[in-house]
């Protein structure tokens, strides 16, 4: 198994050899920051392209096809268009909050993004309350959405922001409950330890029924939290034009757009990390030869394979089901997902106490 911490410690030693430790750490932080932003943008481009292709295929079309082979340059053209568009300031809006809102959304998204572990030893934020930090970071985004809706001074954005607030705050509970189920099982809140505990089989195999229920609840609630799929009430195109970012233009709109797709990826990546083992290869306890072969496949390939598998699941859900009404949305959360989540948590505690897992 390739360990990325060899590379990072080599770089650290190289830098501390030529400069004081403060500057070395400063330079490393700078490089990591630029790296995250670049990776964020590239992933967003890949995800938007994938969304358009998958959406087309689900509607019996072929999706973007004209710019380059299979339309691969379509997204670059879109990005350039978005970058050179004018940012319009509205007459009666709250100028400061209007400008601030997209940055809050994208900072929350990047904070949550930095908890993702791509390879062994390739982690940015990994401390003993990782899951709590992840949940805190994702719930920060709703603040930006509420501010965007309020400061735009428009009915559509206001309605959308209120819906988004009700939706995200409700569904966070289900995300928390399903992640808590896993925490009960693994006994740790740290992402790297959760991954390490899956070395002898991914949680979805080890934890059987309670983990399956938690996985499905997490997918539903995660989809709702990113304002996608059947839960896209806040941006309901047919009723609210574009929802909370109706009045935005140029790169300010681009930030909302980017963070929407990256939140999708973050939800999928956390699902892959927590339930499907992250970068951990497929290990079956007892088959040492098979495990050794699986170890030759690098961790980041496992991670991206799993994450994009979950992304595809979420897209499948999105392009299959019609949008829920607001009362149905809240009924689904408070009457179905939360009771099942609580029951599932109790079930998981029984499984752990009586050691009914593999």
């Amino acid at each position: 198994m390739f360990d990325f911490s060899i590379v990072s410690s080599w770089i650290h030693n190289l830098l501390t050899g030529v400069m004081p430790e403060f500057w070395a750490i400063f330079l490393e932080c700078l490089a990591i920051g630029i790296g995250i932003l670049l990776f964020y943008a590239v992933l967003a481009i890949i995800l938007i392209y994938m969304e358009r292709k998958v959406c087309g295929f689900f509607q019996c079309r072929i999706g973007p096809d004209r710019v380059g082979k299979f339309g691969i340059f379509q997204l670059f053209a879109d990005v350039i268009k978005m970058l050179i568009k004018e940012i319009i300031s509205l007459k009666n809006s709250d100028k400061f909050l209007y400008a601030l809102a997209p940055f809050i959304v994208i900072i929350a998204s990047i904070l949550a993004f930095s908890t993702i572990q791509i390879n062994k030893g390739m982690e940015i934020i990994d401390f003993n309350v990782g899951i709590v930090f992840y949940m805190a970071a994702t719930s920060l985004g709703v603040l930006g959405i509420l501010l965007a809706g309020w400061s735009s001074n428009s009915k559509f954005t206001m309605i959308s922001a209120m819906r988004s607030g009700a939706q995200i705050i409700s569904y966070e509970l289900s995300v928390g409950l399903s992640l808590l189920t896993v925490v009960v099982f693994t006994g740790t809140l740290q992402f790297s330890e959760i991954i390490q505990s899956q070395a002898d089989g991914w949680l979805i195999f080890k934890g059987h029924i309670p983990v399956w229920i938690a996985f499905i609840i997490y997918l539903i609630a995660g989809n709702a939290e990113t304002n996608r799929g059947p839960f896209d009430l806040p941006e309901a195109e047919s009723e609210l034009t574009a929802g909370y970012h109706t009045e935005y233009s140029g790169m300010h709109f681009g930030f909302f757009y980017l963070s929407e797709y990256l939140n999708l990826f973050i939800v999928a990546a956390i699902a892959a990390t927590v339930f499907l083992g992250g970068w951990m290869p497929l290990h079956i306890s007892g088959l040492d030869g098979f495990n050794a072969i699986m170890d030759y496949i690098p961790g980041f390939i496992w991670f991206f394979g799993k994450a994009f598998f979950v992304v595809f699941l979420l897209m499948w859900i999105r392009w299959t089901f019609p949008r829920l009404r607001i009362d149905q949305l809240l009924k689904l959360e408070w009457k179905i997902l939360v009771p099942i989540g609580l029951f599932n948590l109790a079930l998981m505690i029984l499984v752990v106490v009586f050691k009914l897992h593999f």
Partner: protein, 155 residues
């Protein structure tokens, strides 16, 4: 108890219907796509025979058409896009008959209602399925359907 039963019934039937929906969309996902890549597949493009592309007057191999210049198509055209120009010829036994000289058809005015084809008593005109009509001036859209030197088919 009844509401308790109803809750679980609605939950499981809901999950079942959601799965049926996902199965249906996966079938569509794997199906052959209907999109035509138009300019590239111009040679193999198949258009329905009933598609109304352009009004044409079919001619046989000896350059005969079936139009007797009765003008019914011109009367029935709602947009006035057909004008039938004819000469009146007097035969040796004193009978007058119309001979088509120019069947004028304005493509730019046509709304493809097919009334002209339906009312034609001799099936002299029909729609074919060529659809690439783009030209640079309106004058080029006014077409003469009968060919040069063509005559009425002999009965």
């Amino acid at each position: 108890m009844n509401s308790f039963f109803k809750y679980f019934h609605s939950l499981f039937s809901g999950i079942l219907t959601l799965l049926i929906g996902m199965k249906t969309s996966m079938k569509v996902f794997l199906r052959k796509k209907v999109t035509e890549k138009y300019p590239e597949n111009r040679d193999t493009l198949k258009i329905s025979d009933r598609f109304r592309g352009t009004l044409v007057m079919p001619h046989d191999t000896e350059n005969h058409h079936k139009c007797v210049a009765c003008g019914i198509c011109q009367i029935s055209c709602p947009n006035g896009s057909i004008v039938v120009h004819f000469d009146t010829v007097v035969s040796e036994d004193g009978k007058k008959s119309k001979v088509l000289t120019n069947y004028e058809y304005d493509l730019g005015n046509c709304m493809y209602c097919q009334l002209c084809v339906n009312t034609c008593p001799h099936d002299a005109i029909c729609f074919d399925n060529s659809f690439e009509h783009a030209v640079f001036s309106r004058e080029k859209l006014i077409k003469k359907l009968n060919r040069e030197g063509s005559t009425l088919v002999k009965k």
